[in-house]
């Protein structure tokens, strides 16, 4: 029985790794080799694709742009969501339940619905093709999620903690930053992970809102993928590189994932 138990996750992980391996395999081949020779590993190992990406500024600036707006978005989402989640977890106020559901509905709005109005709206306020425009537009789905997750974590903290602190003479600000935030650090970590993740992987809005200056790597890649079968090696190398930031983030939050999932809402 215990042997069979190992088998299922192993098969699943192999299934997950196969396409990733294939992408890596392709990224170390030249495009001619990809098209002409079918092989399970690179016969003629080359780093030329990676060299192109790291020397051509239109390519590597794509990564810089993507990371910039993702970090902006994570900071904005979490810092706006912290006080709101606190309010939802501690107080009743006029229209609180409706407001909470209204926030969640934005997580449910298909980005395709918003693509065109966003383009017009951000153009009219002169924010088109800036990092901040993408960071703000991603707040649409990340803030509701951040509020939702943080509210779960905060509700798990007993209210006595707040009351004891006030009795001890803490002001609200000092209590919030000195005691409360360290208590829910794991929750903040998980929230940042999710905000980073959803902002990093989104393409439709990021592509719609940019032209050249703030263009994300994901959009630069569509340039090669649209001409199907062309520059496959370069596409594979660029794709492989987009896996790295995610992998780094997972590594840092690995201990929180299971615990955080169990404690909070998500």
């Amino acid at each position: 029985m215990s042997k069979i138990k190992w088998l299922v996750p192993t098969i699943y992980i192999v299934f997950l790794m196969l396409p990733i391996y294939w992408l890596l395999n392709m990224s170390f081949k030249t495009t001619t080799e990809i098209i002409n020779v079918y092989s399970l590993w690179p016969k003629d190992f080359t780093l030329i694709n990676y060299k192109t990406i790291f020397t051509d500024s239109t390519w590597y600036m794509g990564y810089v742009n993507s990371i910039t707006y993702t970090v902006f978005n994570t900071i904005i989402s979490v810092s706006a969501a912290l006080p709101a989640a606190y309010a939802f977890s501690r107080y009743k106020f006029l229209g609180d339940k409706h407001l909470f559901f209204w926030l969640l509905t934005n997580r449910m709005a298909p980005p395709a619905v918003f693509a065109l109005p966003f383009f017009q709206f951000y153009s009219s306020v002169n924010l088109f093709d800036t990092h901040i425009a993408i960071a703000l537009s991603h707040c649409l789905f990340n803030i509701p999620l951040a509020v939702w997750i943080l509210e779960g974590f905060m509700s798990a903290v007993p209210k006595e903690l707040d009351e004891t602190a006030y009795v001890d003479g803490y002001s609200f600000g000092r209590f919030f930053f000195k005691i409360f935030i360290p208590t829910i650090a794991a929750g903040i970590g998980i929230t940042m992970f999710f905000c980073f993740m959803f902002s990093w992987v989104e393409l439709l809005l990021a592509k719609t809102l940019t032209a050249t200056i703030a263009k994300p790597i994901a959009a630069i890649m569509t340039r090669t993928s649209s001409t199907s079968g062309y520059e496959l090696g370069l596409l594979a190398a660029a794709g492989s590189l987009t896996i790295i930031p995610g992998a780094v983030v997972i590594y840092f939050v690995r201990n929180y994932i299971a615990k955080g999932f169990a404690m909070g809402r998500v």
Binding site: I20, S79, A80, A87, N106, M108, P110, P111, M197, R254
Partner: protein, 288 residues
């Protein structure tokens, strides 16, 4: 938790309210605006009333893409939920296997969606892709760019690859929160493996599973980027899901009125189903 009434709590909510309103209300009003008007370019608009809504609701094109979307989402939920629960049940509970499983399984979740599409495109190409080449070597006539059946198979397999881990992570967290005492009690009572699952694990996972269903429903119903890169909606219209069709109409043909009306109908469908889920979730939470 007993909450106190305090209207000042609104001040805490203001930043979130402003940011989301700025992002949601303004564009949504634009969509509503368009949905009742006809555009002639250069900002000339004419009132059309509910014409676009009637047209969309009666158009075969909308029925077809909505039908495809519903079938797709249904298949996705049917595969990913049991599979995710099954994998979570067999995952190691302690030791070095836990971080290894968690890290490797979360990988697909953090890859940009168009890279997922591109990756699967390369992986499934019938001549140079591992999947396509293997299937053809095994004697299947597989070509996802030509045959609708294969295109569906590839899109579903890609989504299973991409998102099953989310269900796994959620179920795993739910399983981990069960106290060992429950299992000990079950052992004393001589419960079978199935009984343990049916009467202990499944009820304890109810909350996370509702969330998993909700998230998987929303995201698979709104799927755009991955099939756009993988199949582009083709061959023909075989994998032309709602979002793909909407973007084609809005940005491709610039039919703003009908596209806006379709957006609103689309949004209302998602909203309605999520509201039902959400109400059930909140009712259960209030009861416990």
């Amino acid at each position: 938790m007993n909450k106190t009434f305090n209207q000042k709590a609104w001040f805490f909510v203001i930043p979130v309210f402003v940011l989301v309103a700025f992002n949601a209300a303004v564009p949504l009003m634009t969509v509503v605006n368009y949905s009742f008007q006809e555009t002639f370019g250069s900002n000339v608009f004419a009132w059309e009333g509910t014409r676009w809504f009637k047209e969309i609701l009666h158009s075969e094109r909308f029925h077809a893409s909505l039908g495809r979307q519903v079938i797709f989402t249904f298949i996705i939920l049917l595969i990913q939920l049991p599979l995710g629960i099954g994998i979570a049940l067999t995952m190691p509970k302690k030791g070095w296997g836990v971080p290894v499983c968690l890290i490797l399984m979360s990988m697909p979740l953090l890859i940009p969606w168009n890279v997922v599409g591109a990756m699967w495109n390369i992986f499934a190409l019938p001549d140079i892709g591992f999947l396509g080449n293997s299937l053809n070597t095994l004697g299947f006539d597989y070509n996802f760019t030509q045959q609708s059946g294969d295109a569906w198979f590839t899109t579903i397999l890609m989504d299973v690859w991409h998102w099953t881990s989310l269900v796994v992570l959620l179920s795993y967290a739910g399983l981990n929160s069960i106290q060992p005492a429950y299992y000990q009690a079950a052992e004393i009572d001589g419960a079978s493996r199935w009984d343990i699952f049916r009467y202990i694990e499944l009820p304890k996972m109810k909350k996370v599973l509702t969330l998993a269903i909700l998230l998987r429903f929303m995201d698979s119903f709104m799927i755009y980027t991955e099939p756009f890169v993988l199949t582009g909606g083709g061959p023909g219209n075989a994998t032309n899901f709602l979002s793909l069709d909407l973007v084609k109409m809005a940005l491709g043909q610039f039919d703003l009125g009908p596209a806006a009306a379709m957006s609103l109908i689309y949004f209302l469908i998602v909203l309605l189903i999520c509201w039902v889920f959400y109400s059930i979730m909140m009712r259960d939470e209030a009861r416990s």
